[in-house]
């Protein structure tokens, strides 16, 4: 790359939740940096949210993995320090990072709580772009106290893949001419867009590295992934070649789906309790839909089994779009009853997609009329907006031990923690 080009950077906070906590503690007088001892941020075991959300490098050396149960982590590393999550702190760090990045460029895309894309102002040569990335990395460390890995390239995919190459506190380039050398030897599951199911499928066809994927006939990939979306196979093939064309989205991606899930603090073994949990999730989902002025035609329910933690789901497409809590709950209940095989349940999820603006709803003579219930929703939403989300709750949650509104990270709910759209 010997000419000036548009440069995209991907900024990824290293062990984000743990780093945020470490810096916060040091600022408040802690003498031990939790990043330097075996430690991890983990949810509460009492409410069965006890999974590892982020771990320190010394904990990683013991084989502690993100996503595993905290008791497993304790078995691998008995002296591990477990820290409860603090979402308001993470949001404070996130906002500070975005503010700092916006001092350098007005084209900043928030990708998740600990990741951002940004477009460098103007066109830059390769060396200039590396210097620019180092300046940002250094500035974040000096001012905010945590470290970031920066990926530098000419599109978002390669910048994101680049930031994974070297951690922590590092700058890595992955320009299109470097794809063959730096990206193709990586395992295929490291490619953005290849999840667990897609990776298993690719392995069955002896596609083990990103290089293997790049050399595969695109028609075969389109055939293999036809159930995902029309062009998923083509997209993966392009990604393997480092081709990606989307712009930096400063206003956030359009909402494709709204959903909430929760882990229940005991095993749900009867239908009535499961229905109550679905209702509390439907309350949250319905409220978020109405707040965004959206309604949807596809309603889905996911069930997470208690023993092997395997999740299965069921969804239905209905005639007319809905945003009414009772309507969502009604469909969820039917879906659950049709799908549930009677095993103990660890968690449940509810989602609504195929969204459209709630200003234009195609009515159907075949569907139930939810007008009365919608009036109730409007009133309840107004009360909650004025007096807080728990100011009015359904009577069946009183004394039930269940949350009347389930799902969400707490604090600034609705934050896009994960997205599959670059």
């Amino acid at each position: 790359m010997n000419r000036k080009e548009r440069i995209i950077l991907h900024i990824d906070v290293n062990s984000a939740f743990l780093s945020f906590e470490a810096v916060h503690r040091l600022q408040h007088g802690a003498t031990v940096d939790v990043r330097k001892i075996p430690s991890a941020v983990a949810g509460s075991q009492a409410t069965r949210h006890g999974i590892i959300l982020a771990k320190s490098l010394p904990a990683k050396a013991y084989g502690v993995k993100t996503g595993e149960a905290s008791w497993e982590a304790k078995q691998k590393c008995p002296g591990i320090v477990l820290i409860p999550p603090d979402y308001p702190l993470y949001m404070c760090c996130h906002r500070a990072l975005v503010r700092l990045l916006k001092d350098y460029s007005d084209k900043v895309q928030v990708f998740s709580i600990d990741e951002c894309f940004m477009e460098a102002p103007g066109m830059l040569m390769k060396e200039e772009s590396i210097r620019f990335a180092h300046r940002i990395r250094e500035h974040v460390r000096q001012e905010l106290g945590f470290t970031v890995s920066v990926g530098v390239s000419t599109n978002k995919l390669l910048a994101k893949m680049g930031s994974e190459l070297k951690k922590p506190d590092a700058v890595s380039t992955l320009f299109p001419p470097e794809v063959g050398k730096k990206m193709w030897p990586l395992p295929v599951e490291d490619l953005y867009g290849v999840g667990r199911a897609a990776a298993a499928k690719l392995h069955r066809y002896e596609i083990h590295t990103i290089g293997d994927l790049a050399e595969t006939d695109v028609k075969l990939l389109s055939y293999l992934f036809k159930s995902y979306s029309r062009d998923h196979g083509q997209m993966l093939w392009e990604y393997a070649h480092g081709v990606e064309r989307s712009d930096i989205m400063t206003s956030g991606p359009p909402t494709k789906s709204i959903g909430n899930s929760c882990t229940v603090h005991f095993d749900v073994e009867d239908r009535e309790t499961a229905h109550a949990v679905l209702l509390s999730l439907a309350e949250t989902v319905g409220m978020r839909l109405r707040l965004a002025n959206l309604c949807g035609r596809v309603i889905g329910v996911s069930i997470r089994k208690s023993g092997d933690l395997v999740t299965y789901s069921h969804q239905v497409k209905i005639q007319s779009s809905i945003d009414c809590t009772d309507a969502i709950y009604e469909y969820c209940r039917r879906l659950f009853d049709a799908a549930w095989k009677g095993e103990p349940i660890r968690g449940l999820g509810v989602w609504v997609n195929d969204l459209s603006s709630s200003g234009y709803i195609q009515l159907s003579a075949l569907e139930k009329d939810w007008d009365e219930k919608k009036k109730v929703d409007r009133t309840v939403d107004a009360i909650r907006a004025k007096y807080g989300p728990f100011s009015i709750v359904r009577g069946n949650f009183v004394q039930s031990g269940l949350a009347p509104l389930a799902g969400g990270a707490g604090g600034d709910a609705g934050f896009p923690v994960m997205t599959s759209i670059l």
Binding site: F20, H24, G29, L89, F146
Partner: protein, 87 residues
């Protein structure tokens, strides 16, 4: 100087531009006794934004328990709390 991070009761003044200056503070010791420190001379002021949390840092000098000492005070803007950070 050692890190103390003790909460303080503080009297400070603010000028018309919002610039604050510590004047005197009261600190409870672990044995429940109280130390009063006045006539604080601010030698340096800094600001930190670690983890996005703004804190003002004052490097000060005064007489503490009969001895001339240098110490650092911290003021957390989000919570309006004062701390003896280092002494």
């Amino acid at each position: 100087m050692k890190i103390r991070m003790k909460r303080l009761k503080m009297i400070f003044w603010a000028d018309e531009n919002g610039r604050i200056t510590p004047i005197r503070f009261l600190m409870k010791q672990d044995d429940a006794s109280v130390i009063k420190v006045g006539s604080i001379r601010v030698m340096e002021r800094k600001e930190e934004k670690l983890a996005g949390n703004r804190m003002l840092i004052f490097v000060c000098q005064s007489v503490v328990a009969g001895q001339q000492k240098v110490f650092e005070l911290k003021y957390e803007i989000a919570t309006c709390r004062w701390f003896l950070y280092k002494m």
